[in-house]
C-alpha cells in the first residue's frame, strides 16, 4: 500500500484575491500571464475566495473515467499524472472530477491539471498572505512508518488519548538502542511497563519512583558510558512526575548536564489516578482536588511554567511541542536526541486529556491546535547558543474563550476568571517574547527586573 503525500492547503481566511498564485502558475506551466491558463483557480464568492484545483484524490475518479489510461495516480508522489501521449482529448475525466480540478485549456489544446510542480509548487511561493501552504507533514509519517514500532500492540489508553501517538512515534525515532524510564503515570498505566513478567516495549524499560526518575537514568547512562556503549537514556514522564515530586531529581540532572532525553507529556494533572491537580494544572481548571461546587471554582493558582524553569538550567536543549504540529514536534525531537548526546535535553509536549479535560474523544488534536492558536501554550525551543526562539509564532491569536469552551473542565468559569486567564496569556506571550529578543544563554544568576 501507499503512504501519505504532501499536499497544497488553502486557508480561505487569509486569501486576499491578489491572483499572484494564478499568474505564477500560468507562467510556470503555460508561459503566459493569463489567469485562465492557471491550474489553480481562485474564484470570488460574495465576501470570500474559493478554490478550484486538483485534490490529487486518493481514489481518483478522473482516472477511473479515462478510457485511454492517460491518468494514473503516482504511488510515489501522490500526484495524478497525466500522459499526453495517451490522452485522446475526450474530456470524460472532467465528468469524473467534482472539484473543477481537471479542465480543458484552449491554449494547450488538452486538459490540464495541477502536478504540484514536482514538489515545489509555484503558486505557494507566490502567495504573500500565506493562504496557500505546501504541507509536507506526510513525509514524517511515511519515514516514521518505516521505522520499527518499539511498543507492543494494544496499549490501553483512554479513547482519543494522544499519548500513545507520542510514545510510539517518539520511540520509533529514538530507536532501539534505548533504555526507557516510565515513572508512575498514564504511560506505564496504559501498559508500557508490561504485564505478567513481560515488558510492554521492545527495549529495556523500568518503572522508577516518581521522585527518582532522572537520577536513576543518570546512573544508567553513566554506567553505559563507562562501558563504552552508546545508549539513549530516555524518560517518558507525566507532568506530575516531572514538575512536582520528581522535580528535585530532574533539576539536579539538568544542572549536572547528564546526557539524558527527558520527555514530559503534559496533560495538566495526575490523570491516571483520578485527575488530581498538579503544579502544571492551569488556573481555573476543574480537577478532582480542585473541585467546583458551592465554594470551589477550580484551581486558584496559576500553572508552573516548567519548560521555562528547565531552560533556566541552561540545558543543552529545551523545547515545547504539540501533537497538533507534528512537523514541529519531529524537528524538535531530532534536535533533542542529538543534544542528549552532549548534555541534558528536555522536551515538553502539551497533550490534551480527553477524559480529564472533558471533551469528546475525537477532538484531541483540535483542542491541542486551539491551545496553540490562542497562545494558551507557546511553541518554542532553546539552546544555549541561539537562546529561545518561537517556532510557531501566532500573530493574531484566536480568543481564548474558543479554547476554554471546548473543554468541560472550564465550564464553570466566571467572567473574572476568564479575564484572569486572558491577562495571564498576554503576560506569558510578552515574557517569552522578551526572552526571545534577549537571545543566547540565560545569565548564570538571572534577573528579569
Amino acid at each position: 500500500m501507499t503512504g501519505a503525500y504532501s499536499t497544497i492547503a488553502f486557508d480561505a481566511a487569509r486569501c486576499d484575491g491578489c491572483n499572484a498564485c494564478m499568474v505564477s502558475c500560468a507562467q510556470a506551466k503555460a508561459g503566459s500571464d493569463e489567469v485562465a491558463d492557471s491550474r489553480i483557480q481562485i474564484v470570488a464568492g460574495d465576501g470570500a475566495f474559493e478554490l478550484a484545483m486538483c485534490r490529487q484524490c486518493g481514489d481518483p475518479r478522473c482516472e477511473a473515467n479515462c478510457p485511454a489510461a492517460a491518468l494514473v495516480k503516482n504511488e510515489d508522489s501522490g500526484v495524478v499524472d497525466w500522459d499526453g501521449s495517451k490522452c485522446v482529448d475526450c474530456l470524460l475525466c472532467t465528468v469524473g472530477c467534482a472539484y473543477g480540478g481537471i479542465v480543458r485549456n484552449a491554449r494547450a489544446g488538452h486538459v490540464v491539471k495541477c502536478d504540484l510542480c514536482d514538489g515545489d509548487p509555484a503558486c505557494v511561493k507566490a502567495c504573500a498572505p500565506g493562504a496557500l501552504r505546501y504541507v509536507t507533514t506526510a513525509r514524517i509519517y511515511n519515514e516514521v512508518g518505516q521505522l520499527e514500532d518499539l511498543f507492543v500492540p494494544g496499549l490501553s489508553g483512554c479513547q482519543g488519548c494522544n499519548t500513545e501517538l507520542i510514545m510510539r512515534h517518539a520511540l520509533r525515532r529514538i530507536g532501539p538502542d534505548t533504555v526507557l524510564a516510565t515513572p508512575p503515570g498514564c504511560i506505564p498505566g496504559m501498559g508500557s511497563v508490561g504485564y505478567n513478567g513481560l515488558t510492554g516495549t521492545k527495549v529495556p524499560v523500568f518503572h522508577p519512583l516518581l521522585t527518582n526518575t532522572a537520577s536513576m537514568l543518570a546512573g544508567i547512562k553513566r554506567r553505559y558510558n563507562r562501558l563504552g556503549r552508546e545508549v539513549n537514556a530516555v524518560a517518558l514522564a507525566g507532568d506530575g512526575g516531572a514538575s512536582d515530586v520528581g522535580f528535585q531529581s530532574l533539576s539536579g540532572a539538568a544542572e549536572r548536564g547528564e546526557q539524558i532525553l527527558f520527555i514530559c507529556v503534559d496533560n495538566e494533572g495526575y490523570m491516571n489516578t483520578g485527575m488530581q491537580r498538579s503544579s502544571c494544572t492551569p488556573y481555573g481548571a476543574w480537577t478532582s482536588t480542585t473541585p467546583v461546587g458551592e465554594h470551589g471554582r477550580g484551581k486558584t493558582q496559576d500553572a508552573k511554567n516548567l519548560p521555562v524553569l528547565m531552560m533556566m538550567h541552561n540545558c543543552a536543549y529545551v523545547a515545547t511541542a504539540s501533537t497538533a504540529f507534528m512537523e514541529d514536534l519531529y524537528a524538535k525531537l531530532d534536535r533533542a536526541i542529538a543534544a542528549s548526546k552532549r548534555g541534558f535535553a528536555y522536551l515538553h509536549i502539551y497533550s490534551p486529556c480527553t477524559t480529564g479535560w472533558r471533551f469528546p474523544s475525537q477532538d484531541n488534536i483540535t483542542v491541542a491546535r486551539m491551545a496553540v492558536e490562542t497562545n494558551f501554550v507557546l511553541l518554542w525551543e532553546f539552546d544555549p547558543e541561539a537562546g529561545l526562539q518561537l517556532t510557531h509564532p501566532v500573530d493574531a491569536p484566536r480568543p481564548v474563550r474558543d479554547y476554554l469552551e471546548a473543554q468541560g473542565k472550564y465550564r464553570h468559569l466566571s467572567p473574572e476568571q476568564v479575564a484572569h486567564i486572558e491577562a495571564g496569556i498576554d503576560r506569558q506571550a510578552a515574557f517569552i517574547a522578551r526572552l526571545a529578543q534577549a537571545g543566547g544563554a540565560p545569565p548564570a544568576r538571572p534577573s528579569f527586573a
Partner: protein, 422 residues
Amino acid sequence: MIRHADYLIIGSSHAALAALHTLRMHDSEGAVTMVTRDASLPYSPTVLPYVVSGRSQPERVFLRDDAYFRAQKVDYLSGIEVERVAADRNVVRLANGDEIGYKALLVATGAQPVVPPIPGLGGVRYHVLRTLDDAVALRAAAAGARRAVVLGAGLIGMHAAENLAHAGADVAIVERLPHVLPGYFDADAAAMIGRAFAAGGVRLFTGREALSIAPGESGEPGCSVVLDGGETLPCDLLVVGVGVAPVTGLLQGSGVAVDRGVLVDDSMRSSVANIFAAGDVAQARGFYDGVKTLNGILPDAVEQGRIAGMAMAGDPGIKPYPGGVPLNTYTFFGQHAVSVGTHGEGIPGAETFTTVDASAARYLKIVLRDDRLLGIFGINAAFDPGVMWELILRRVDLAPVRERFLDAPQDAARVLMSRTWR
C-alpha cells in the same frame, strides 16, 4: 475441473474494473476471478474511435497490466466467453465447457452493437465498433476507402464518420431521427455539430431511413444503401452504428429478471440475491423519474461498478445509487460538446435558458426547475461537468446565485462546490 471464486466478475471493462477496485478496498483476501471474452488485457470501448483514427496505438490503450492483477490477487481469464449462468447451482459455464463456482457474481458484460433488420445487410460486408478487433479492422479498411456510409448518427457513428473523413473518404451519415446525437443534444446544438460535419465534407441524411442494401457490382467490393427518398448511396465501406443492446443472453433461464437490461436495485443487486449487474448491461433507476432505464455511458458504468463492488464485499460504507443521469462529452473537428442531465422534456416547471452564438460556434443551455439544476449543455462553453453533475445529484438550491449561475455557470458552480463539498 471446477474452479471456485468468492467473487466472480464477468467482463473486464469499466464496470468490472471499478467493482474490482472497490471490493478489494474492503476485502483484500477473498478469491476473485475475472472472466472476459476479450482476448487481451482490459481496454475501453470508448477509446476505439481513437484506435481507428491512429491517435491511439492498440498496444497502449490497456487500462491494467498483469502486474496489477497479480498484486490484487485476481485470476484474470481472458479470451473466454461465459455461456450460461446457472443461478440455482451458483456456477457459470464457459464456452469450453468448464464451470466456475461463485459466492457472488457480477455481470458486467456491457452492450453489443445492434444490427438493424435492413434487407440486404446480411449479404454484404459491414463494420461495427465495439471491440479492439473491430477497431483494428475498421482502421485497415478506412485506409483504402473512397466512399463510406455510416448508418446511425449516435456517438459511435459520428466518431466513425469523422475518422473516415479524416482518412480521406467521401462520407455520408444516415440517421432515422431528425437530428444528430439524439438524446444528448437538442436541435440547435445538433445543427451546430452538423454544420461542422458538413464543413468537414460529410453529408448528413437526417430524418431518413435506409430501406435496403444492395450488393456491389459482382467482383467489386462494397454495396449501395438505398434511402427512403429513393437515392442510392454507393460505398466501398459500410459502418453500422445504429445503437447497442445489453449482453444478457448468458442469463437466459437463470431466473435473473431481465427487461431491456438486467433489472437492478440501488445496490446493483439483481432479482437473485448474490447476482449483481453494473454498466451498460444494467437497467437501473433513473435520477429524474425513478424509472429503471439503460444509461449506456462510461461514467455511469464506473459509478455502478463501484457500488456493485462495495455491495458484493459487504462494505458498510456503501451509499445507494443516486440514480442515472445522462452525461456526455463529445469532441468533433476540434470542437467540444458537453451534455449533463436532462433537457427537461415532460418535466413540469422546467425553465430553459439558451444562448447561441453561431458565429463563435458557442452554445450554452441551462435547464432549471425550482432553482435546481436539471441539465446543462454546451458547445465550446466553459463549465466543469463533474461539478454540474454533483449540483444536480445534490439538488443544490441555486436561488441565491441564480443570476450569476445563468451568466457565468462555471464560476458560480465552483463557488458552490468549494463551499458545499470541498
